[in-house]
């Protein structure tokens, strides 16, 4: 039996029962969560035995021009199912999202990478050092409106 993709629409109602008002959007393959409750929802998905989504595969971000989306991919090795959780942020210079590095240590470098490339700061992430750039570099080259390093 292969790895099963959890149905976003079914899962969204379970999340909504526990955290009313937290689900922003739902689709077949993903659930979009309010950025304020993202840590609680991720903890719930990780620690609830029914879901057991204890393995964090990936975190990345997408620049949607007026907003930013952060995507989390989590898997249960025991139950052999996986899911994509997303959250949306208004795009502004002080865009901030709570870190999940205390739940998954692996999140630390994913978040640092996103912080450098998209300018999304993660509160509570112990290091905000550059991953791929030099220390004084403050441009966020993965933003869609980024044009050149001289600008």
């Amino acid at each position: 039996m292969g790895l099963k993709e959890l149905k976003g629409k079914e899962l969204a109602s379970r999340i909504e029962d526990h955290f009313p008002g937290s689900v922003v959007e739902r689709s077949d393959i993903s659930v979009t969560i309010n950025s304020h409750t993202i840590v609680n929802v991720m903890r719930f998905l990780k620690e609830t035995p029914d879901f057991d989504l204890s393995y964090l595969n990936n975190i990345t971000a997408i620049d949607c021009l007026n907003s930013c989306e952060v995507m989390y991919r989590i898997t249960s090795m025991r139950k052999k199912h996986a899911l994509i959780i997303k959250t949306k942020l208004c795009k502004q210079s002080d865009a901030e999202l709570p870190s999940i590095a205390h739940l998954w240590q692996g999140a630390r470098f994913f978040e640092r990478d996103i912080c450098n490339l998209f300018g999304i700061r993660f509160t509570d992430n112990s290091t905000a050092e550059q991953v791929a750039w030099w220390e004084s570099f403050d441009k966020h080259v993965f933003e869609k409106n980024h044009t050149s390093l001289q600008s």
């Binding site: 292969g2 595969n57 990345t60 997408i62 991919r73 998954w104 692996g106 993965f142």
Partner: protein, 370 residues
């Protein structure tokens, strides 16, 4: 009486022979004991993810060659599977078998290099790596026969493979497989029970299964801790469910277990290639590629597809806005994430073991930095 010693900051790399490329570690030492370590990335950063946003889906295949250049076929494969899922493209049966054969041969190449360089890092300079190099070179000859390239193949394409295998390929692979078992035994006789190797690797660079999962490790590094997880079996993507193979796991998550897992996987890949060749012989000749437009426009949407690459979970997250180029192209690089767990594995150990542990993770800096 305890003698108070001062901590020393030591910079290893970026141009150090044991960093396997350009990578730097800021190490804090108390005598020879590692107290802290901070990895410094980015010396080979090329912005592939951003470059891909300005190229068509087909043009991005050669970029994946340049992710993990030690296992380019596996990177081609992971990317093409993601685009095929996004654009709902079916792959011909014959192409599926060819892909499995080349990817498992690629896994053998990767593990030969990984084990060879790991032993090199331990101080056995020259001999073991040359044994591995010799077998790897035969496989590169096979790939050259297949697609004219020894290193960056661009062979696996969206919808199949670029062209069918030449008639002399299957007998050549069979000959390699026949000979390989003897060479594998030779390597095992040389290394498996070697007293120095065991003294250097058993109990060093240890990480527990729980910590490995928490740090998002994957591939042989994760399996060495005893976690029975292999996407080839547990996700059974493509046609992996048609082959019988064991998932090799370790017990202690130390350097020796990581080495043993890779040696075991060499034999399992050998077995998968053998089975795939037998099943391919029973197939009627047929197309090896579904025709797809050069300017492919997948429907709007996003997809995350992960494959079991030789170094671990290689994931591609692609967002399409319906145009000819991806709106977002993200690579979940297995060696980048495995490398971030290095700190867990070396703190409290000796500095000589740091080099051994670093070698046992098996990284390719092109894939780490992207």
């Amino acid at each position: 009486m305890t003698i108070k010693t001062e901590l020393m900051a030591l910079n290893i790399g970026p141009h150090h022979p044991s960093t396997h490329g350009v990578f730097r570690m800021r190490v804090t030492l108390d005598g020879e004991v590692v107290k802290d370590i901070e990895p410094v990335f980015g010396y080979l950063y090329r912005g592939l993810e951003k470059l891909a946003e300005g190229r068509t889906y087909t043009q991005n295949i050669p970029l994946t060659d340049r992710l993990d250049y030690v296992s380019s076929m596996s990177c081609n494969y992971g990317y093409c599977l993601a685009v095929e899922k996004l654009a709902s493209i079916q792959v011909p049966e014959r192409a599926n078998y060819i892909r499995i054969i080349v990817c498992e041969l690629q896994r053998m190449i990767n593990h030969m290099i990984a084990v060879g360089f790991f032993i090199n890092d331990l101080g056995a300079f020259g001999t073991p790596i040359m044994y591995m190099w010799r077998e790897r070179d035969k496989l590169l000859d096979l790939f050259e026969m297949l697609c004219g390239q020894r290193f960056l193949y661009n062979y696996i394409r969206i919808g199949g493979v670029s062209h069918d295998i030449p008639p002399e390929f299957i007998p050549a692979v069979n000959k390699f497989l026949d000979d390989y078992i003897g060479y594998h035994k030779e390597m095992e006789a040389l290394l498996k029970e070697n007293e120095i190797l065991k003294a250097r690797t058993i109990g060093t660079g240890v990480i527990s299964a729980d910590r490995a999962i928490n740090t998002s490790m994957s591939g042989p590094c994760l399996r060495a801790t005893g976690v029975d997880w292999d996407l080839r079996r547990d996700k059974s993507y493509s046609i992996y469910d048609r082959f019988k193979f064991d998932v090799i796991i370790g017990e202690n998550g130390d350097n020796y277990d990581r080495y043993r897992v890779r040696m075991g996987e060499l034999i399992e890949s050998h077995s998968i290639v053998r089975q795939a060749l037998e099943q391919l012989e029973d197939l009627q000749p047929g197309p090896v590629r579904t025709e797809t437009p050069n300017l492919l426009r997948p429907p709007k949407g996003d997809v995350y597809v992960a494959t079991e690459a030789p170094k671990g979970e290689l994931g591609f997250y692609i967002v399409s806005n319906g145009s000819i180029a991806p709106y977002r192209w993200h690579v979940r690089s297995p060696d980048f994430i495995n490398l971030t767990a290095l700190r867990e594995m070396v703190i409290g150990g000796m500095i000589a073991d740091l080099i051994a542990t670093f070698g046992s993770i098996d990284i390719c800096l092109a894939s780490v930095d992207r």
